[in-house]
């Protein structure tokens, strides 16, 4: 509705006396911009609405073929975008309020609306309806944009993970061949090789070995990204015990004091959470290697106001100014000749924990050990849980 334009009002009212009263009141409104059409039953009214060009509906609820609230519901269903003002009798205000709650723009009590009130009611109803329509449209556009972006992001992620997977996968065959033939040279052509040649070949084999680890860790990382969470109530104690057993090669023959406290049972993906503990404990074992006696603690605690699990060691620790680099792919805080590693383990840990809606972070001091904290389910987990 713009200034100066005629406002087309459709009155649906079967009582000729009431209709005449409304018509007269409308004529008396200042400015006199209202153009009134009047029909006597809902069916005719809806047909008129379907033809379009109606700016506002004045609706009596008690009509020849429809009564009360039902009249409003039918009219509203047929004309979502046209504001409706319900006309009601003195005793029906409760009903009128209900229609307003469910989509009517306003109600007027018959006989109480003078020209001023009616005119203002109509104008406000039209404006409110227009604003609501705009809001709804904006909201729909926004939702559509979010859906499009999400789809793009999901597709990009899937592509990236497929890429990581196939690259890693296809890299393995040539690596095996380089390693294999280098090994065969060392074994079968030993007589023709001097010390330098053998040294170079060992370097080749060392390189392929490192590359092999990188590829395998990248594959694991890609796998975590692609995998859907399968949440089940899981005793974390069990996962820690499994992880310790799996890492036996790393600690056999060393002096290690395991301090494993009682851990809670939480909903999580047991396969992925086991990987979290394997990575954290493997790190703890690695960085305590210079210690005569390693002390590794796994316990529950409260951190950042949430129930958490901590993994603590008395190893070489690290400088907290590098803490933000800890969880990046290929980021390493130690030199390869001191502590081997691909720099992918903690990235994998973080990806798993984030997938569970949790957080992982570390506190440490150089040469004084490190403590990793894991919280789960601070926010709803991503992806869908398998409830079966």
């Amino acid at each position: 509705m713009h200034n100066g334009e005629r406002v087309k009002v459709l009155l649906i009212e079967d009582n000729p006396g009431d209709a005449r009263l409304i018509a007269e009141t409308l004529r008396e409104t200042p400015g006199g911009v209202f153009e009134l059409a009047c029909v006597e039953d809902l069916e005719t009214g809806c047909e008129r609405l379907a033809r379009g060009g109606v700016d506002v509906v004045l609706l009596d609820l008690n009509l020849p073929h429809s009564r009360g609230y039902d009249t409003f519901v039918q009219a509203y269903a047929r004309a979502r975008d046209v504001p409706i003002i319900v006309l009601t009798g003195l005793g029906d205000q409760e009903l009128a309020v209900r229609t307003v709650r469910d989509g009517a723009q306003d109600y007027l009590v018959k006989g109480q609306a003078d020209a001023h009130l009616l005119g203002r009611g109509i104008r406000y109803a039209i404006e409110r309806s227009r604003i609501q329509r705009d809001l709804r449209r904006l909201n729909e556009e926004l939702e559509q944009r979010v859906a499009e972006r999400t789809a793009q992001l999901t597709a990009a992620n899937r592509e990236l993970e497929a890429f990581t997977y196939s690259v890693s996968h296809d890299l393995r065959a040539p690596l095996r061949q380089v390693d294999g033939f280098a090994r065969l040279l060392i074994e079968e052509c030993a007589a023709q090789l001097d010390t330098t040649a053998r040294h170079y070949l060992e370097r080749v084999r060392h390189g392929t070995g490192r590359m092999g680890e990188l590829v395998d860790d990248l594959l694991a990382l890609a796998h975590v990204g692609r995998q859907e969470l399968r949440l089940r109530p899981t005793a974390l104690d069990r996962l820690v015990t499994d992880a310790v057993a799996e890492l036996e090669l790393q600690w056999r023959g060393r002096s290690i004091e395991w301090r494993i406290g009682r851990l809670p049972t939480v909903p999580c993906d047991p396969g992925l959470m086991r990987l979290v503990f394997v990575n954290l404990l493997s790190n703890a074992l690695k960085f305590t290697r210079p210690r005569d006696r390693a002390v590794i603690t796994v316990d529950q605690t409260t951190a950042r106001g949430l129930p958490a699990v901590l993994v603590q060691d008395n190893g070489v620790g690290f400088d907290m100014k590098y803490a933000d680099k800890l969880f990046g792919v290929f980021q390493r805080l130690h030199r390869a000749e001191d502590f081997e590693g691909t720099g992918i383990g903690l990235a994998t840990v973080q990806r798993i924990v984030h997938k569970h809606g949790g957080e992982v972070w570390a506190e440490a001091r150089l040469d004084e050990g490190a403590t990793f904290f894991v919280t789960l389910g601070a926010s709803p987990p991503q992806g869908h849980a398998h409830t079966s």
């Binding site: 997977y165 996968h169 296809d170 393995r172 065959a173 690596l175 095996r176 061949q177 390693d179 294999g180 033939f181 280098a182 090994r183 065969l184 392929t208 070995g209 590359m211 092999g212 590829v215 395998d216």
Partner: protein, 155 residues
């Protein structure tokens, strides 16, 4: 091909991998008669005694098929599907020997009836150990299917 019975059918298209696998098998004297085929179509011709292999008989089945998955023409899964879907070849032990251990491949392999699934290790020593164990088991420990296991027509 000579008249002697093939013990292992190696289905592998990468010549370097063929060489390394043969070295590993021969080093342990695990198989003297190994037939190498370079793609899935040739593998099917061999197994179903067709084309260049029409002189073979179904009863002279190999003791083991070592099957790569990524193959030219017909891929390894399709070779497996046809082999395990036919009564004349179903009893032949098949080990998938491949770079991939993607869950989908492992699941499909077992659903199609593969007898073993092995990811080739990158480390050559481990690879050699793996091939050795594989050969020892299927050539020496395992009781092979008797000729009557390869009877009947397609089912």
């Amino acid at each position: 091909m000579s008249g002697s019975v093939v013990e292992i059918l190696l289905v592998e298209d990468d010549p370097a991998d063929v060489e390394l696998t043969l070295l590993a098998l021969r080093r342990n004297n695990l198989a003297n008669r190994i037939q190498v085929v370079g793609d899935g179509e040739e593998a099917l011709d061999f197994l179903f005694c067709r084309g260049p292999f029409s002189q073979r008989s179904f009863e002279e089945a190999p003791r083991l098929v070592l099957l790569d998955l990524k193959l030219p023409k017909v891929d390894g899964m399709e070779v497996l599907r046809q082999l395990k879907g036919d009564a004349r070849t179903r009893a032949i032990p098949v080990a998938i020997l491949t770079s991939s251990k993607e869950e989908r491949d492992v699941v499909n392999g077992y659903h199609l009836g593969v007898n073993s699934y092995i990811q080739k290790p990158v480390d050559f020593d481990q690879f050699r150990e793996t091939v050795k164990h594989l050969g020892l088991y299927w050539m020496l420990v395992n009781e092979p299917p008797p000729p009557s296991a390869f009877g009947g027509g397609p089912s």
